[in-house]
Symmetry: C3
Subunit: 211 residues, 3 copies
């Protein structure tokens, strides 16, 4: 369990960092001032994990450990200094993919350490992975990333399912985590690079979708 | 109290089912893939009750009982298979009315079993009844159902008030629940069928409302 | 600590009142019915403090004390009767500034009484101060107040920082609170009156911001 704990802490900071960077990039698009910039970074960085902890009844992870806010601050400062330039949208989407993949494992892992059932752990993984981005998009008054017809939730689901399945099979937690991360990132990468998508709902008498 | 407990569990699943179906119908409108479809169904299905439990400091109801997620899965599968066709919007609005009515009783009932005051129980009923739809609309980047100038929150309020009042009068809980459900559904039906609305705010020097 | 407690309760009700009034003004703009009117007032009034309490793991402040809902009711009734007329937008923005300033102190103060670190207390102050308005704007399907390029989050930050710093220096809590409130309100007033803003993010290869 110690291994799992260390892996979790590293993944936690990594995921917070990349999601915070996507929040900062969204703020950059809006040309916000530096305080709002950090605010967006922090909310996006810790949003998914905050929801996970509230749902599980666990203490919210960053409230007792302000170092997570420092991680957000560093991510925001990096984006502020490096900027995004013309590649900004591409960088945002890839950082978001990294964060999604890390959280899909981490959310499920924390739920397992809390003794929740495998099904619930998978749901927690998906929620944790997707909600940072949802909160960022809602605050930014953009259409949520969920609404694009792309493999997104599915990638998070794949990461959580692979991780939880391997843990049930008593695979070492670091390996299970790496496998889950890879599954999520691989699937999301295919979606980004090739625009792949799953079969979507189409009813017989369908009008074209709104906008 | 056993009666109340059984009635609550049945109402709980029924409300989760119909709200999950409205979430799936919203996802159908967007032609989402099957995983996102279930994701929308689940969030809409359990959203209102989740907020209620968080506010009360109760364990979130579906976290320890994954069967609620199965209910969402079944609702999503039903919509996926049956589709909505040209009647989709009408079906969504009526399922939403059923969920609103069930939750207006159920939210208040759970608050009463937690020993909260009647006023707070009524507020919990209204919040539980309306927030599934609000979350669905926010995720879907639609104008919230709250913003339509229709009797909506009022129907939830009527259901909660009738139920709590009858419980205070020591009416049997099943009867109180049925009366509350009927009050909410009746009022909401009138609003849907006849476009009825309460007097709305109009100031003397009013500009027309935005968009 | 008793002083701090009384000051907190007064500030709490004052902040709830003014935020509830801004919620009611937003509802007035939409010409909502009287129940929805109160609903918007209540959610905006207690929203920021609710988030603060959930994050800290504290009992949500209004759940056990329905008098806060009465405060919201009074605020909503006042707006309903007095209306906003042509000055509505100006009134909303100034009430919002008052609420922001009060909450920036109050959020931090409650976090300190819970034994949280100064950094976390400041973050709680900022979150409490800004989230009532965010929730109001999200429900109202408006662009969030955060997205305007104005000193807003920064004013909340100033209030929290001044208050927490003075408390660390053992200044009497009432004075520390008044100083924090004044700092936040002063900064926000300058932003409203003179359109002042901090330096904003501009990358070298920037496209103009969206809409």
């Amino acid at each position: 369990m110690l291994h799992l704990h260390i892996a979790l802490t590293v993944l936690d900071h990594a995921a917070v960092f990349v999601f915070a960077a996507t929040g900062a990039l969204a703020a950059a698009r809006r040309q916000h001032d530096i305080v709002t910039f950090f605010f967006f970074a922090a909310i996006t960085g810790v949003g998914g994990g905050t929801l996970r902890d509230l749902l599980m009844g666990a203490p919210v992870f960053w409230v007792q450990r302000p170092e997570y806010l420092v991680t957000c601050l560093v991510a925001a400062a990096a984006i502020w200094i490096l900027g995004g330039g013309t590649f900004r949208e591409r960088i945002l989407i890839w950082l978001d993919a990294l964060g999604l993949s890390a959280y899909s494992v981490m959310g499920a892992a924390k739920a397992l350490t809390f003794g929740l059932s495998p099904v619930t752990a998978i749901v927690m993984g998906v929620l944790t992975a997707t909600f940072g981005g949802v909160i960022r998009d809602v605050l930014d008054h953009q259409e949520s990333v969920l609404l694009r017809r792309e493999i997104y939730v599915t990638a998070a689901l794949a990461g959580s399912v692979v991780f939880v399945a391997l843990m049930l099979l008593h695979v070492q937690s670091t390996i299970a985590g790496a496998a889950g991360f890879t599954a999520a990132l691989g699937l999301r990468s295919i979606a980004i690079l090739y625009g792949a998508s799953l079969p979507s709902f189409r009813s017989r008498a369908d009008a074209p979708p709104p906008n």
